[in-house]
């Protein structure tokens, strides 16, 4: 296999020959599994988990291939390869997911071994993006760049990627298992709605340790993760996870798919009993065998390399002048650009949520353009955010205007990161066999209604999240406004929740009232926004006002006409 030489990248883990051999072997293993299925040696029942663990999922109309973007970080050349695959094997576009992966929705089974082979050429694969195993670990899309970062979570996310890959004991778990890790005081990775959510932090001596939350999750029974341990020393990071997974593998329910996630085990055992089980297992496992030695951590950190930053100062003159001369650019900076830990740099969000667009979709042409911009302005590296946008994490502030001009010219300059138009939506009934209702057209209608960027900025931080069924892939439970598609006698209806929050102050939203039609939902969102704007005090976000005034005024306005 010919590998394309890695470009100058800012912070992507570099594969060596052993990593490459592993991926190549895994491709061949899957090819043989497909052949054994076709020959009848493997039954469909036996083949299914094997194909799922290679990212291949059967949807409503076709196979979907979900490609792993480990912790959401990829190189420009990897994005170009995804663009090429989209053009060659799909319909010329791909869909970025809430697990920071990319999925192709129109794949032919017989093409998959060839696609996996092509992915391997750029050190990519589709491993463990589906199935009852530990899935792609997610993190902050600004990891390694954010000014508020305390610990570089990429290093530990990569350790987890390796440790979970074909784990001999934990590949046939009761149900899927999702881990998120965050290395800042802020939470941009929805830590407490994961099976395991980890905060990496430092003690007063500067040593790295981890806080573990276990048993969070959305789906039909949403739970907020429980604190299981406040400080796990770095050297015990893997041992502690082994302990959690072993307790889950042994005691997690296998009699009912809807009760098989670890959140149900934690709920049924109770936080105290569950913690005790984990601590006992940990006490036995702790020791040289599972110790994460500092040299291993250092070696993995070294493999990330790092951008060759220049010595710059914040707010250079040309940047200030561009903002002053161009209010649209100034708005984009205010909304889509985040402070970088290195002076003179910034992290820019490329919104994949244009008004009336499909959240998270990008065409092959857009991917290629963004790859070129990543090469030109961000050391050839970019990220996928769990909000289904892309991020250039290390852009010189004096290059932001050039970047924005190119984005704007190609319809990618939408200034709505974190605003009402930045909607998270699952694929819904347009693609998914489980869905009760469509999500995408509703997201399109809402973002079209709120298309005016000035109005969006006035409304401020307000996350809308849409799921087409109670499996909650669109995270509606933690949307400031959440929308859940339901089926009422064959018709699509939508239930609205308010007050959800995926950040440090995690909260599950409450149902506002009876479900309404799609058209009524768009009007209801508008009514909710109006009530908020007329009630808010200075500086209050939507959820703050909601907390202060309660549901009453919102409910009254939304259901006034009913």
């Amino acid at each position: 296999m010919n590998h394309i030489a890695p470009g100058r990248n800012a912070g992507v883990y570099s594969y060596d020959d052993i990593d490459r051999r592993f991926v190549a072997e895994r491709v061949e293993q899957f090819r043989a599994q497909v052949e054994r299925r076709l020959s009848g040696e493997l039954t469909e029942d036996e083949f299914k988990p094997l194909r799922l663990m290679n990212g291949l999922y059967l949807q409503l109309h076709a196979y979907m291939l979900r490609i792993a973007v480990p912790y959401g970080v990829l190189t420009a050349q990897q994005l170009r390869k995804l663009a090429e695959i989209g053009r060659k094997y799909d319909k010329g576009y791909g869909h970025f997911t809430t697990r920071q992966n990319l999925q192709f929705n129109w794949i032919k089974l017989e093409d998959t071994p060839a696609i996996l082979h092509e992915l391997a050429e750029v050190d990519m694969h589709a491993l463990q993006t589906s199935g009852n195993c530990v899935r792609n670990v997610t993190t902050d899309q600004f990891v390694g760049a954010a000014r508020d970062e305390v610990v570089d979570g990429r290093v530990y996310a990569e350790i987890l990627r390796q440790w979970t890959t074909l784990h001999p004991e934990f590949t046939f778990l009761p149900r899927k298992f999702k881990i998120a890790i965050m290395g800042s005081d802020a939470d941009r990775a929805a830590i407490r709605v994961h099976d395991v959510g980890v905060f990496a932090k430092r003690n007063e001596r500067g040593e790295v340790g981890f806080t573990f939350y276990v048993g969070g999750g959305l789906g039909r029974s949403p739970f907020i993760g429980k604190l299981v341990r406040d400080w796990v020393p770095e050297e015990d990071f893997v041992a502690y996870l082994e302990a959690i997974l072993r307790v889950y593998n042994q005691y997690g329910r296998r009699d009912n798919i809807y009760k098989a996630r670890i959140k149900i085990l934690v709920h049924e055992l109770g936080q105290e009993k569950f913690t005790q089980e984990v601590e006992e297992e940990f006490a036995r496992l702790r020791g040289p065998k599972y110790r994460l030695a500092p040299e291993v951590v250092d070696e993995i950190r070294r493999r990330f390399g790092g951008p060759a930053y220049e010595t710059l100062t914040d707010e250079p003159e040309s940047f200030q002048a561009a903002k002053a001369a161009n209010p649209d650019f100034a708005r984009w900076v205010a909304v889509n650009v985040l402070a970088h830990k290195v002076p003179g740099y910034a992290a820019a969000t490329i919104s994949l949520k244009p008004a009336g667009g499909i959240p998270g979709d990008a065409t092959s042409e857009q991917m290629e353009l963004i790859a070129d911009l990543a090469d030109a302005h961000s050391f050839g590296e970019l990220r996928v955010s769990h909000a289904q946008n892309l991020v250039l994490a290390h852009v010189r502030q004096d290059e932001l205007f050039t970047l924005w001009t190119a984005l704007e010219a190609n319809g990618l300059g939408t200034p709505n990161a974190g605003l009402i138009g930045d909607i998270i939506a699952c694929p819904g009934l347009d693609y998914c066999a489980l869905a009760n209702a469509r999500s995408i057209p509703l997201a399109q209608a809402i973002s079209a209604r709120f298309a005016d960027p000035a109005r969006q900025q006035t409304i401020g931080e307000l996350g809308i999240k849409i799921s087409g069924c109670i499996n909650a892939c669109g995270h509606h439970h933690v949307g400031a406004i959440g929308i859940l598609g339901v089926d009422k006698k064959g018709e699509e209806f939508y239930q609205i929740t308010v007050g959800g929050d995926p950040t440090l102050t995690t909260a599950i939203g409450d149902i506002l009232g009876p479900a309404v039609t799609a058209d009524e939902t768009v009007d209801a969102i508008e009514a909710i926004v109006e009530v908020y704007l007329s009630n808010r005090h200075d500086g209050e976000r939507f959820i703050d006002t909601l907390k202060r005034v309660g549901h009453g005024p919102f409910k009254e306005r939304v259901y006034a006409a009913h």
């Binding site: 052993i18 990593d19 072997e25 043989a32 001999p168 072993r246 296998r254 994460l292 291993v296």
Partner: protein, 165 residues
Amino acid sequence: MPLIKDGRIVEDDWVAVADGEPVPADRPAIVTFERWQAERASFDGRNAALGVRVKSGTLAPAIAPDLDRFALVAIEFPKFRDGRGFSTARELRERFGYQGEIRAVGHVIPDQYRFLLRTGFTSAEAPENTNPESWAHALTEITVAFQPSLDDPQPLSLLRRRLGS
């Protein structure tokens, strides 16, 4: 049913005894864990080797007190997707220091063979019509591992290294 050991089909020295059937005194025999618990006194003074078959819900700590009586523990996989047995085997080895044979019985597939060996199993019962080549091939497919395991007892000194095959 064919027995797989070291990547090939081998002769099975053990006889699996159904509950209620007499246990042969002169050859290695596997009884259910339930029978062992109910009739344990009847095995006192037995000379031939004894093995026990446990269901997937019977975890290592339940078997541990009697482990020195068993030359073999057969762990049942009711469905190949039920992965509890991997933890049971690992605990028998690592936590309870069990040295005897650990056999996977019920429904396991060649694609799990490497996982079985890495968690401490020594043999696996394959379906009647199994393709022996698939079991042999399963040991050659992947040569890299990222975790410490029973067939490779080094510490987690490096996450990534080659497997001995």
